[in-house]
């Protein structure tokens, strides 16, 4: 066989594999949108559940997820950003830096349910925050730290070295240089990372199983020490724990969750490409 024919066959095979990878994504989205769109209306997203969650809306679950995601980012963004600044701007190549990198790799690999156990042991039990929004948000924050650090380090690395050299040569101190000549140019990348980690936090279930999630609450949470319902947990219980929930309710909940996660992702991608075009160096 001619080698070019072989190549054609091989490339065709590679294409086929790629299609097999991508098709399920479209399938999952199509199934959710097709079956869920009839259930999603204003009442569904703005009303309390009724009738043992068999009717009504999923408003408290949405609110719970919003609280969790915002609070967790409040914790993880500053720590993650400062950690990235340390790693990229301050740290020397030594044992400690190697250890930090290894720790970050490890944090990103720990199973989500193990984070749940950790949150239960540290925040809920040891620090006595109880099963609360605060415990869950802190657990999610630590889980999301590697995402934010990695994205921020990349953003910092994309700022040319000459910016720092000019600033330093004009007599600015290290922190002034970072603050005025590096950070402003890294903001889009950091923002992208932050939004992606928000999206991840919104979809996670296992870390909040034992730290926040309530099966059903008649009221909205009043403080960060209250339990809360959350969208992914709600989807889990109505699809496995409670019999007799209509298909529409389940698909509708899945659609709202996927909708929230995807719109955040798309938002992040738009920010990224917008600023990439604007970049003049």
């Amino acid at each position: 066989m001619k080698t070019t024919t072989k190549q054609k066959i091989a490339f065709g095979f590679l294409l086929l594999c790629t299609v097999i990878v991508v098709l399920p994504v479209l399938f999952v989205l199509a199934v959710i949108i097709k079956n869920g769109s009839s259930a999603v209306n204003w009442e569904f997203v703005s009303a309390m559940p009724r009738d043992n969650m068999k009717a009504g809306g999923i408003y408290p679950a949405i609110i719970g997820t919003v609280y969790l995601v915002c609070l967790s980012t409040l914790f993880s963004l500053p720590i993650g950003l400062f950690a990235a600044i340390y790693l990229h701007e301050y740290a020397k190549e030594n044992m400690l830096t190697r250890l930090i990198r290894l720790a970050i790799v490890n944090l990103s690999g720990v199973s989500s349910v193990v984070y749940g156990l950790f949150g239960l042991a540290l925040f809920v039990t040891f620090l006595k925050f109880g099963v609360s929004i605060l415990s869950g948000a802190l657990t999610l924050a630590i889980m999301n730290l590697p995402v934010i650090i990695t994205a921020s380090v990349e953003a910092l690395a994309s700022v040319p070295y000459s910016f720092r050299e000019v600033s330093l040569s004009l007599g600015a101190s290290k922190w002034q240089t970072v603050r005025h000549s590096v950070l402003p140019f890294a903001v889009p990348g950091i923002l992208t990372g932050a939004i992606l980690s928000l999206a991840r936090a919104a979809g996670e279930t296992a870390p909040i199983l034992f730290t926040v999630a309530a099966f059903y609450l008649p009221n909205l949470p009043h403080s960060i020490f209250d339990q809360a319902m959350a969208l992914p947990y709600h989807l889990y219980i109505i699809s496995t724990q409670i019999p007799g929930i209509t298909r529409e309710m389940r698909y509708g909940t899945a659609l709202v969750l996927v909708g929230i996660v995807f719109s955040m992702n798309i938002f992040a991608v738009i920010i990224r490409s917008k600023f990439r075009k604007k970049k003049k160096w």
Partner: protein, 290 residues
Amino acid sequence: MKLRKIIEFVIEKLIFLCGVASILFVILIFAFLLKEGISFFREVSFGKFIGGKYWYPISEPPQFGILPLVLGSLLVTLGAIIISVPLSIAAAFYISEVAPLKIKDILKAAIEMLAAIPSVVLGFIGMVTLVPWIKKVFNLPTGLTALSGSIMLGLMAMPTIISISEDAINAVPRSYKEGALALGATRWQAMYRVIIYAAMPGIIAATMLGIGRVIGETMAVMMITGNAAVIPHTFLQPVRTLTATIAAEMGETVHGSMHYYSLFAIGIILFAITFIINFTADLFLHRNRK
């Protein structure tokens, strides 16, 4: 002037503290798992825990053998890897070496989307589509099987494996490929004779991180594998994984009971497994960079 110096000093210390926070968190996670899990190992020996064939945590007397759970996790992971690794590597090659620029961007976006779908949603979709399908095709009493879990987890491992393999392929020096092409090789020959070997450490690391992702995955696997804590013999029977056991049983335990501590002991095992996998994968990635 003095004030500014003080502020700067404080900020730099703060930056340093945040920098080492990751180390602190890893130690904290391990310490707190150990704190709760250690009470368990005072009562049950490690060998009985790992090698015990029966997981009956609430019967009298309780039995805490996690062998069926370990084998359940291994079986589901094995299946997922068999499904995802070849497809992912092929896709990584297609995306980085063959696809035209525009298609490349679309494919990358699709794979990012796959990574973004929450695991509970994939579990739900698996429950309503894949599970009935498997039940029908293999004519089984239930479609909640290890195979269902493997397929879904294979899907979830793909974005990880593809993106890291793709990075590894892109990191192969251009001169390798150009050298092969100059000697008269076709692009395909250059790919499978040269590039794949140069990218191999990265591809191995990608596979390992994929395995780590699959072993740690919880929600989807809990929803579609049937959760039967028995030693599995085939892919077509229900299994229960380590992760699903923790997630499913923690809600029912009494705080401070043996059952409660035993779930933390499983957590320690999971933490150790993912630690080893990520550590080794990092070694491979590091070698690749040099």
